[in-house]
Amino acid sequence: MSTLLEVEDLRVTFPTRTGLIEAVRGVSFSLGRERLGIVGESGSGKSQTGRAIMGLTPPQARISAKRLAFDGIDLLSISPRERRALRGNRIAMILQDPKYSLDPVMSIGRQIVETLRTHEKVGKAEARERALAMLEAVQIRDPRRVFDLHPHEVSGGMGQRAMIAMMLIAGPEMMIADEPTSALDVTVQLDVLGILDRLVSERGMGLIFISHDLRLVSSFCDRVIVMYAGKVVEQLKASELSQAQHPYTRGLLNCMPKIGADRHPLPVLDRKPEWAA
């Protein structure tokens, strides 16, 4: 399996009034053409890891890494211009809530066309055709109608499909999905995941799926990284989640209510200071 992304000792530090806060503390992993899940609770640094790879870390933060390379390109040393050429073209990112991450004053179709024409030299008519085809590929029933709608006119599930369409139109090799379905209803969630799954495997993309939902991730991904307090505490195959070793992973799995399990009170997570060490 060819390696698409290499991350070694990634650190993201934010300066605050009370000193430096390390949001990500030495994260290492590599990604091939597979589905990798990153799981953790709020504040575990999972989103900042994704953003650092994408190059969306706020300017005041400092990023350092022994190695952060996409397809052999060192992401930390290239110019912002080269980075822009990668972003949206070869690396794409889906964000959590389509309500906030789509441009509210631009029709959905124009946003998709904009992405395409930023990265490829295509005529207007062709761009439109390809955008419509992409909307169809994410199972939007009436792509012509949706093309002209604005984000506030569509439901959350539809907006998220439109965002996936926008991210896939330039044919990226790697996709980072940061909680792509957390804002959606459970039933819609599965539809969107199904679309994402099909497109990722058809196109042979590498996918980083960031989520707080351990069970969802393990049913969707091939491999799972569990983060706690900015560090990776455990890496395992999704199919072997039930044999997780780290007490944090086990605790996280354990504390969720399950249909049919009669446990009162629910087991709670007993956080140990040494997990964060």
């Binding site: 209803d185 995941l193 799954d197 049913s219 504390c255 209510p257 249909i259 009170p265």
Partner: protein, 248 residues
């Protein structure tokens, strides 16, 4: 014995949109009743209608044997309190926890406020150290505990819970759910709880109602859901969705 909450063909209409379409419901005292459904199914609207926060077009709401009019009196809020979904939005950002908890006591003219605040904070596992903090100095789970303390401080008999843990991390969710169960047991409270998560509802409630598009789809006992004895396709879909992603 009269029901704690009884709804009879309740209709809620916002402008021309019918958010609730003739929903009837019956919750016994001391029972924990769940409402599940997708967004837009009307489950939150139903809670808000009981609390007097949604425009009721027709139908009756009866709480502890008393049929409610359009206005809720003080006595109603002594009996019924609500905990909202978003702990970041439901606490006043410029009031300390102490001030937040004093508000309901002042409204209802309680004299022994000091003792009650101490007790309420203790009950939700926060302790006196949190009394003079602001909401932004607390974590999501701590805020939800304050919201629960505020609901409990008037010693109501009914709690309306609108997705009380959906904004929280899984481990914090477990703590808050345990806390809710514990106060319910100790105070013999009646719960009416909304969630989109079937697992939470089966964990917390004895009976539940599945809603869709402002209407009741079906009424079930939690045990039916566990054994998958459901009759409607919509409920079956929800059940399947809660199992996680299955590759086709």
């Amino acid at each position: 014995m009269s029901s704690a909450i009884a709804l009879d063909r309740l209709e809620v209409i916002f402008d021309r949109f019918r958010a609730l379409n003739g929903v009837s419901l019956d919750v016994q005292p001391g029972e924990s009743f769940g409402l599940v459904g997708e967004s837009g199914s009307g489950k939150s609207t139903l809670l808000r209608a009981i609390a007097g926060l949604a425009p009721v077009a027709s139908g009756n709401i009866t709480v502890n044997g008393k049929t409610l009019g359009t206005r809720r009196d003080k006595a109603f809020y002594r009996e019924v309190q609500m905990v909202f979904q978003d702990p970041y939005g439901s606490l006043h950002p410029r009031q300390t926890v102490d001030r937040l908890l004093q508000e309901p006591l002042a409204i209802h003219g309680f004299a022994d406020g000091e003792k009650r605040i101490e007790r309420a904070l203790d009950e939700v596992g926060l302790g006196n150290g949190f009394r003079f903090r602001y909401a932004h100095q607390l974590s999501g789970g701590q805020r939800q505990r304050v919201a629960i303390a505020r609901a409990l401080i008037l010693e109501p008999s009914i709690l309306l819970l609108d997705e009380p843990t959906s904004a929280l991390d899984a481990s914090v969710q477990a703590e808050v759910l345990n806390l809710l169960e514990e106060v319910r047991r100790r105070r013999k409270l009646t719960f009416l709880m909304v969630s989109h998560d079937l697992a939470i509802i089966t964990h917390m409630c004895e009976r539940l109602m599945v809603m869709q598009g402002g209407e009741a789809v079906e009424n079930l006992a939690a045990g039916d859901l566990v054994e998958r004895r459901v009759t409607k396709d919509y409920t079956r879909n929800l059940l399947r969705a809660s199992d996680g992603f299955v590759r086709v």
